[in-house]
Symmetry: C2
Subunit: 426 residues, 2 copies
């Protein structure tokens, strides 16, 4: 049974942001500075103002004076719990504080959303088994599809924090070195095989020094976002051996604008998939640490109609976020407040569950059918890609808000990058 808020639009089960959610973002309104806010129904609550006026008071605070949640994320988890409890109390139906709080509600429709936190470092994992199998099959055949280490290690690589952007940011098609199999030498060209990756993002709150257990890792996690790891497949194919993806993944990584807290998702824990090979002790889960969160991907051509091209679920991930984070610390690597971990592409078992166009079009060989008779193998200029996700509770759902971006054409080639310009410079 859903809890009721005096913010009517939060009730009824159709909002992403009921009283059970209370996700954290950063917003601004026309002419105003960005500040911390909490989504409730069709509104953002200006919690920075509530803290400044003393309506919210937290041990060791203030935490919300900057337009980012990092100071709170670095605080003790008892402070995280205290804020959630206070917000729930302020917003519950019948709250004596309604008259004080209500003036600080801003319609979501009037708010511009910004990056909710400063990303310290960004790591991208590869924990979707169907994705790893599909991609491996395309490149190495089904017998050698899954790398030998895949069932033992949550494989990950370091990505580029500076390229993480908030939902709504335009994504400029990248230039890069590309080479088709029939070409002898690479060309410098805009990526022709630009793609999405449907992922779940984990945000580290408490830092670590030294190796941590899976249970400790789980407690370090502050919250989650949807994450689209935009990928230039043709750049990646040419560059990734032997040291992994680099420029193919550094154009942009888009996250949804609201940090959905770990507390809000606790009711949606589910076991990770059955182990096909026993895990080493340090990776074993003390309890179910996966999540049941429905996901979908929409593609909208410029001026066209959206088609849902994929439906998947976070529960497909073979390794939980806590397992990934624990593995990340094995060598002694310090983890910091604001670190962001991408899960890897979350594909499901069926064709309609695939989380990238690479898989959906099977490496460009099977065009994906869209509304209005259109088709796609990879992203075309003007396409809007949108990830959505929610956990369904009894009479309510915990939503993430949209994680969206439009791909715009590559920039013109600078003169110095052209054959004539470089000759002049030399």
């Amino acid at each position: 049974m859903a809890a009721l808020s005096w913010v009517e639009s939060a009730n009824g089960g159709s909002s992403d942001f009921p009283l059970e959610n209370l996700p954290y973002g950063v917003f601004s309104t026309a002419g105003g500075e960005p500040r911390c806010g909490v989504a409730i129904g069709d509104f953002v609550l200006d919690v920075a103002a509530l803290e400044a006026t003393g309506v919210i008071g937290l041990d060791g605070g203030p935490y919300l004076t900057e337009p980012r949640w990092n100071p709170l994320m670095a605080a003790d988890p008892t402070v995280w719990a205290a804020l959630r409890e206070r917000l729930t109390s302020l917003l519950t139906e019948g709250s004596a504080d309604r008259a004080t709080v209500e003036p600080h509600l801003v319609p979501l429709a009037e708010a511009t959303l910004h990056m909710p936190f400063r990303v310290s470092e960004y790591t991208d994992f590869y924990a979707g088994k169907h994705h790893a199998f599909n991609v491996g099959t395309m490149y190495r055949g089904p017998e050698n599809a899954l790398p030998a280490n895949w069932l033992s290690i949550p494989i990950g690589y370091n990505g580029r924090a500076s390229s993480v952007v908030v939902s709504g940011t335009e994504v400029v098609r990248p230039w890069g070195q590309v080479k088709r199999p029939d070409e002898e030498l690479p060309r410098f060209a805009p990526a022709a095989r630009f793609d999405i990756e449907l992922e779940f993002g984990t945000i580290v709150g408490r830092p670590s020094k030294g190796m941590v257990s899976v249970a400790e890792a789980d407690e370090m996690i502050f919250g989650y976002v949807l994450l689209n790891d935009w990928s230039a497949r043709d750049i990646q194919t040419w560059e990734y051996q032997p040291l992994g993806p680099f420029q193919a993944k550094a154009t942009a990584t888009t996250i949804s604008p609201w940090i959905v807290t770990r507390a809000a998702l606790e009711a949606f824990r589910t076991p990770t998939p059955e182990r096909e090979r026993p895990l080493l002790p340090y990776l074993r889960e003390p309890r179910p640490l996966g999540y049941d969160i429905a996901l979908e991907v929409g593609l909208t051509p410029a001026g066209g109609t959206e088609t849902i091209i994929s439906r998947s679920n976070v529960r497909e991930l073979y390794y939980s976020a806590a397992q990934q984070l624990a593995h990340h610390t094995t060598c002694g690597c310090p983890m910091s407040t604001g670190d962001l971990l991408g899960s890897g592409t979350i594909s499901g078992p069926e064709k309609g569950n695939r989380g990238s166009l690479l898989e959906l079009s099977w490496n460009g060989k099977e065009p994906v059918e869209l509304a209005d008779g259109k088709t796609r193998t990879f992203i075309e200029d003007g396409d809007r890609l949108t990830l959505r996700g929610y956990a369904q509770g009894p009479g309510y759902r915990i939503g993430f808000g949209e994680c969206t971006g439009v791909v715009v054409p590559a920039i013109d080639l600078p003169e110095w990058a052209s054959e004539t310009g470089a000759a002049a410079a030399s």
Copy 2:
């Protein structure tokens, strides 16, 4: 002809820190707080104090109020030049300011050195051709040694900024997943093949948005350090396919404590090696952008004598720092003040020029002979590894100071990572 300073120990050609160098660090003395300093001869000049008292005044300043050089690194290059000019004037023989400045000199022997800047993100390249060829030969044979893309792309991967430490920091041998070829499944164990990588580190001053040319990239660079990219070869072998090195490289990356400015090294430019395949226009250099900087690596067993196990030179790098940085921006990846780029291991053509124990011992098959009749294949607990480097000018040399670290034993296995502990938790 070397310029003379009234700081006598800076003159004579044997100091790493003559008047021509003026490298930037962060230091503290007993009981004091870390602050910005400049090395001159056997002293550190407390430039934070000189700025605070108005002896140094820079447009848009103050820049030196925090114990890190990032604020100055983010400033306009005219400010970089103004500071260098002012410091040169203050420290030159016959300076009228000697009486004002001299009280702010602290003997280097009494100073503790700290990280000179906050590392934003860390990227490691693979631009040493002899190294790439040696490693490729060991793993794939000499015919397939150099990856197909190597002569076209400055290959790089993202590393972990949180693990970058200053010279002198102890390095704890990491745990990780390892598997020998004769083993069916991996074990969790301390790395048995722990290694160094002799590298040159580049520090980004001015940030970028969008693609930049090689010439523009060069102008973004603030300075350089020596860099040891500690590497667990056995962890790397098992984890690195298909997405590259991860935990194998995240235990620690040690940098020398002084930022040697680009200005100080300008006299030591040298062409990068002859191209064996034409570069794409965006990577062509407008002028020689390599450096002639001699390098060496010393290994000192606990309580023993140091042996110089390798001598190399930065001029061996096939791609310059400016080429690496320009490539880093091709996809639109924003580069930030404080980004650190490792060059890749700098090996030379002969056995005695190899920049890692992996190469020196040829994958453990040819032990390296040390003083006192000792040998090494990889690092043993208690070993101190020290990188040194300098550019030799007429009557002076531009040195980096030592980049050193002692490897200490791995921590005891936590109970939760043991078979019995994990069983109890499940």
